[in-house]
Amino acid sequence: MKLAFFLAAGLAAAAFSAQAQDRIVAASPSSRTAVDLFASAGATAPVRQAPVAELGLPLTIQESKASYHRVAVAGQDYWIKGVHVRILRGAEGGCATQRIDSQPTIATPGAGTNACK
């Protein structure tokens, strides 16, 4: 009983971890096959285009400026336009109130699925 309790508490604590560092996980939309790589944030012309398969996703965002994100591709730093990629963003949420929350609702579906089920 006690072991199960601590296990559950440990899992819940893991869920409430601080926001993870945002990462680039895919091209956007998914059908995009290549992404423009820029030498600096705000540059108008790309230095080259990289096929999505060669980006080495996921990419850790090292710095963001305006609508550009600095990432390392094949060991070299480039800037990528935010609208060209899908970013996985952290969230400050957890399931602490789950036991009390789990009641049926009479409302429209909200902004997303309720992940605490």
Partner: protein, 541 residues
């Protein structure tokens, strides 16, 4: 493992596939819902004017708010934050050319990322959304998405689902029992019936729900663009945050499943060891061990199959399309209409200023602390954290008080400075009109009833009902409570009153009015009926 057992393990899956292939077409009432006919239509440009809204009659938004307060931990009383959010909603309504529509934004006390809208025009978002968004663009995208549901008047779906549900005629089977057996044993015939029922009913409604979400996303794109916000930092970031939250919880779900599998395996081995004949014979012992391991493997396998299938059904029937599909859909629109994706700086300053407001800042911090205490109430620092949470502007709020109650209850012995009767901590909430939460009344009355203090328990419940008299969500609990304390005839009378006053929860009230004997009898009949039906279907196959 005996071959017959293996076959028994597989037939539910085969049956489910067959049922899936032959799914009922959508119920008549669903096919007539707004939005269904547009499933195959090309999405309109988000730069075009919005379609005129349908005329409607508004339910009372205040009653709606009281009803939402009766759900879970209710709402967070954070006046300055709400003022900021309602300022944003006012701008959204103006951009949608419906400035006089009723409805406000409220903060839910939930710890998860949650948001929804109701037909009364109100929008409810959980506190963690406020802490997670990085700019006003993202927050406005979230609110505009929810307002999109209101504007597009999709709330008629609720009524249609209810009638489809009744028409399905499965209610009498009392299929809730399936969960009990499924979780312990893996799939059985009752589960399969339930799954097929769920698929038949919800596939169509989920499809409808998915079109709703897409439409609300496009609505949000239109509004945020019109208000000068960025697509990248607004609608795009909002969906990316949603995806991050879902992924975070998928990982947690997998961890839970692994823990469950291990516990199941250990329990099966322990049972087998207990049942095995005592023998000193080495060969016999080895055979018993092997058999126990096989049984454990089978149980774990069945549990895994149940888990996978449940997830798969969940994906198919989710009212929300895959978040990636929603992201792609918006990105394709942004590609098609470059004006939508034009670079605009993120509006971070107004959000930061709102969150830095003194009371708002303290409320956010205290809730975060309360959630931490609730997640690990037995940890040494939990009571101190909870005390801190239940202080200052949140001293009367339900979540911090519940955190303190939970943490103190989890500590061995009395905690210095706290009442021996920890439930009395809730009085602070009961005496604060703006903060009252129905969940605390039910927790308090349940514990008093369990400890034999029937009259005190009733007083607490009746006090709660005075404040939540218009909240339909309180009714099923109240009916059951009176059944247990005053007899099931009274519960049945109350269920009748509930049906007249609150048709939307009538079924739940009726279920709550069943005595334990009636519940047992329904379970018995349901299982028998389910067995007969399944046998008949299997013979057909």
């Amino acid at each position: 493992m005996p071959a017959s057992k293996a076959r028994r393990g597989l037939w539910p899956l085969a049956l489910l596939c067959a049922l899936l292939a032959g799914c009922e077409t959508m119920p008549q009432s669903l096919s007539q819902l707004p939005g269904i006919s547009s499933l195959t239509q090309k999405p309109a440009s988000p730069l075009d004017p919005l379609p005129a809204p349908e005329t409607r009659s508004w339910p009372d938004p205040v009653q709606d708010m009281v009803n939402q307060r009766a759900r879970g931990f209710g709402l967070v009383n954070a006046p300055e934050a709400q003022r900021y959010l309602n300022g944003l909603l006012t701008r959204i309504k103006a951009a949608a050319l419906v400035p006089n529509w009723p409805g406000e934004v409220y903060l839910l006390a939930q710890s998860s990322l949650s948001a929804y809208a109701t037909g009364a025009g109100n929008i409810y978002i959980s506190l963690p959304w406020l802490q997670s968004v990085q700019s006003e663009d993202e927050l406005v995208a979230l609110l505009a998405h929810e307002f999109g549901h209101i504007y597009l008047h999709y709330h008629s779906l609720e009524g249609a689902i209810a009638s489809a549900d009744t028409a399905a005629g499965f209610a009498s089977l009392g299929l809730g029992i399936a969960y009990k057996t499924a979780q312990a044993q893996g799939w059985n015939q009752v589960d399969t019936l339930q799954a097929s029922y769920a698929l038949g009913k919800t596939l169509t409604t989920a499809l409808y729900g998915q079109t709703q979400e897409g439409a609300a996303d496009r609505f949000a794109l239109h509004i945020t663009h019109k208000l000068g916000y960025s697509y990248e930092h607004g609608a795009k970031a909002f969906l990316e945050r949603q995806a991050g939250w879902e992924q975070q919880n998928d990982a947690l779900e997998l961890q839970k499943q692994e823990a469950l599998k291990k516990a199941l395996q250990a329990s099966t081995l322990e049972n087998a060891a207990r049942k095995a004949p005592k023998s000193n014979n080495a060969v016999s012992t080895a055979l018993n061990d092997a058999s126990a391991n096989l049984q454990a493997g089978l149980n774990v396998g069945m549990n895994q199959a149940s888990f996978d299938l449940t997830r798969w059904i969940g994906k198919l029937t989710s009212a929300h399309p895959d978040t990636v599909k929603r992201q792609d859909s918006l990105a394709e629109i942004a590609d098609q209409y470059p004006a939508i994706a034009e670079e605009r700086p993120a509006a971070q300053a107004p959000l930061q200023a709102a969150l830095a407001q003194k009371r708002t800042q303290a409320i956010l911090k205290n809730y975060q602390t309360a959630y931490k205490a609730m997640e690990a109430p037995q940890s040494p620092g939990a009571v101190a954290l909870a005390r801190q949470a239940a202080s200052g502007p949140t001293a009367t709020h339900a979540v911090p008080l519940f955190a303190l109650y939970t943490a103190a209850s989890a500590q061995p012995g009395a905690v210095r400075g706290l009442p021996r009767d920890l439930g009395s901590l809730f009085d602070a909430n009961f005496n604060s009109e703006a903060d009252r939460a129905w969940a605390l009344y039910t927790e308090r009355s349940t514990r008093l009833k369990e400890s034999g203090q029937r009259d005190a328990s009733k007083r607490v419940l009746e006090r709660g009902l005075q404040h939540f008299a218009v909240a339909e969500e309180t009714m099923p609990y109240a009916v059951k409570f009176y059944g247990e304390t005053d007899g099931w005839d009274r519960a049945k009378q109350q269920a009748q009153q509930c049906r007249q006053r609150f048709p939307r929860v009538a079924e739940r009230c009726q279920t709550a009015a069943r005595s334990p004997q009636e519940v047992a009898e329904i379970d018995r009949r349901s299982e028998k009926k389910a067995s007969e039906l399944t046998d008949r279907w299997l013979k057909k196959k």
